[in-house]
């Protein structure tokens, strides 16, 4: 897996989607969630994925992150063809190379903020002393140094999302995927969280893709992509 990560950052694009289709069967009626999406993302980009509800933003993020399968086309992440991976290998990819931040229900409610961050390192098999210091470092970088011992229920929505980001980056993934991370936040907290993501992108070079409804997100990202009916409609970074 480390080998995988190194090659990815150096040469090929981090993400490459070609003609990706995803068809859901709903009551035996096919629903085209993705109907031929093409998207290339390079290391260090901060991409916003906009578009109306049902346009396929979440589906595309899930496909890229190896959470969901696809029915046609190709997806490579860090030069690896996801179609060729077994479920176990996909799980490994998620664990080691991709960080996820979801819209809601990101954290394990019975664990403290620090334990939530440590949890994923534990899954990776990192020794407990290292876990602790790495988790603390990640929490500190999210401005949560003081709140490590609190449970999710004792944190505000914005703080919870920052814990989720800390957990997503503590494994040093090649790619951070966020699906409407600000949807449940007020506008002030939204701006704060977006600033955190932008800093992460600019200072650490983290490649980030975030799906959003909120136009304000576009003010922070380096590239705006818009989806409609399961396709990429507009992409201001397509020249890159």
């Amino acid at each position: 897996m480390t080998e995988f990560a190194e090659t990815s950052k150096a040469t090929s694009p981090v993400v490459e989607c070609r003609g990706v289709q995803r068809i859901y069967q709903q009551d035996s009626v096919p629903v085209y969630a993705l109907r031929g999406a093409d998207l290339t993302i390079h290391a260090g980009e901060f991409v916003s994925l906009a578009g109306p509800s049902g346009s396929g933003k979440s589906t595309l993020l899930n496909v890229i992150g190896g959470l969901d399968g696809f029915d046609a086309g190709s997806v490579t992440v860090g030069g690896v063809d996801l179609a060729a991976l077994t479920p176990a290998q996909l799980a490994q990819t998620r664990l080691h190379n991709v960080g996820f931040v979801f819209q809601a229900y990101n954290l394990i409610p019975v664990l403290s903020a620090r334990e939530n961050v440590e949890f994923i390192l534990q899954l990776q098999g990192v020794a407990s002393q290292q876990r602790r210091s790495r988790a603390d470092r990640a929490l500190r970088s999210m401005g949560l140094a003081e709140l490590g011992d609190r449970r999710p229920g004792e944190l505000s929505g914005g703080q919870q999302q920052r814990v989720a980001i800390a957990r997503a980056i503590v494994t040093e993934p090649v790619l951070l995927l966020a699906d409407e991370p600000t949807a449940n936040l007020d506008s002030k907290t939204t701006s704060e969280l977006l600033a955190v993501l932008r800093d992460l992108n600019q200072q650490q070079g983290m490649t980030i893709v975030t799906a959003t409804h909120d136009p304000i997100v576009m003010e922070y990202t380096s590239r705006q992509v818009t989806m409609l009916d399961g396709e990429i409609r507009q992409d201001d970074g397509v020249t890159a």
Partner: protein, 405 residues
């Protein structure tokens, strides 16, 4: 992982404690009942064997097949001495003859039993039921059944004459003075039994260093199998050992029957509790679909999720089992030393049945099976229940699970 499991249990404290208490209660009840059961068998066996029959008897094989007067054990004394060398074993001889018992003009058929009064008194309870006089202590004294005494009109101090046929058809005759009257509670025996000193009976019936049986009594009945094997190794070809199971097959059968009934009851109880546990546990698991989805989205494999839940289940059942044993064990230790009065447990019926013996209290006995059966069944049951209800995580798709609001 332990921490996560523990925290998950604490998440719904009421449910966890309720489930643990359910498990604990079942453990308490079943361990207690099983211990009581094995304690009561011990009492049954003990009081039955200690009454008259003994824990085991040695006779010649053909006497076992059909008891005839001539079928005696030869060299009885040296065999007795050899066997008494075995640790924890007491041996005493008996001769048994039929004859006519007369007092004045009245005569009756009876069974004359030659016994070692000193030895038997220490071991057997039948001698506690002497209702008049005392156990004989001289060579010309006898102890006779109450009904026989009534029927031939014999009182304490009266002379009775015993006539029978001795070895090789010779006429055997003896005169005894009635020293005591015994009421065994069994009509048959009370009507026909005469106990007299072993040596006197053997002399009168022309037996020389012979006996019809050697009765075996153990200090500790639980060592029966070992000691029986040792005894059998010492026996000549022509002799056989019968243990109480063969001597009193009805007791053994009724114990087996009772055990089977007990197992049925315990199984039902355990199954019920297991279902209750399954129910609460499964309800908890269904609420956690999103959490399992999150686990897998983060890169956990389904089997890891199942393992995590197995761990929770184990913690839960251990909690319950410890709770149950923590209550059951001191209770049993206490009752094992104090005993439970029989009339308190089963009323008159039970105490009457047990009255044959001198025991009036049951001492529960905590054995390995009685203390481990319920815990093992419940632990395994909980694991299986948790397993069956988490197998579905293999079908959970993280995307769908996390979507559910």
């Amino acid at each position: 992982m332990i921490r996560l499991a523990w925290r998950n249990l604490q998440r719904n404290k009421a449910r966890t404690w309720l489930t643990a208490c359910g498990i604990g209660f079942a453990v308490l009840l079943v361990s207690f009942a099983m211990s009581l059961q094995s304690g009561s068998y011990e009492i049954m066996i003990d009081s039955a064997t200690r009454y008259f029959t003994g824990h085991g008897q040695i006779s010649t094989d053909d006497y076992i097949e059909q008891p005839r007067f001539a079928r005696t054990i030869a060299n009885a004394e040296s065999l007795q001495a050899t066997l008494e060398a075995i640790d924890g074993l007491t041996v005493f001889p008996r001769v048994q003859a039929f004859g006519v018992v007369s007092k004045d003009e009245k005569s009756l058929g009876g069974m004359i039993l030659g016994v070692d009064f000193a030895a038997e008194r220490e071991q057997l309870d039948v001698y506690n039921n002497v209702i008049a006089g005392q156990v004989p202590d001289a060579s010309d004294q006898a102890l006779i059944g109450a009904a026989m005494a009534r029927n031939i009109g014999a009182n304490l101090g009266d002379e009775i004459v015993v006539l029978g046929s001795g070895k090789q058809g010779s006429v055997a005759a003896a005169v005894f003075i009635v020293a005591g009257i015994v009421e065994t509670g069994q009509v048959e025996l009370d009507r026909s039994l005469i106990f007299a000193p072993f040596a006197s009976v053997a002399d009168a019936f022309y037996l020389a260093d012979e006996a019809h049986m050697l009765v075996l009594m153990l200090n500790d009945l639980s060592r029966l199998n070992d000691i029986a094997a040792e005894v059998e190794a010492q026996l000549p070809e022509s002799l056989g050992l019968q243990t109480w199971q063969q001597l009193m097959p009805l007791i053994e059968q009724s114990i087996e029957l009772d055990k089977a009934g007990g197992y049925l009851f315990f199984s039902l109880l355990l199954i019920l509790v297991t279902f209750a546990v399954v129910n609460t546990f499964v309800m908890g698991l269904f609420e956690r679909t999103r959490e399992f989805g999150l686990f897998m989205a983060l890169g956990m494999r389904p089997w890891q999720v199942i393992g995590q839940v197995q761990f929770e289940a184990l913690l839960l059942s251990l909690l319950g089992v410890l709770l149950g044993l923590a209550l059951a064990y001191p209770l049993l230790v206490y009752l094992t030393s104090v005993g439970i009065a029989l009339d308190q447990v089963g009323g008159e019926e039970v105490s009457r049945q047990m009255q044959m013996g001198s025991m009036s209290r049951i001492y529960p006995r905590a054995t390995w099976p009685s203390m481990t059966t319920a815990p093992l069944v419940l632990i395994i049951g909980t694991q299986l229940a948790a397993l069956v209800s988490t197998l579905r995580v293999q079908g959970i798709r993280p995307v769908t699970a996390l979507r559910a609001e």
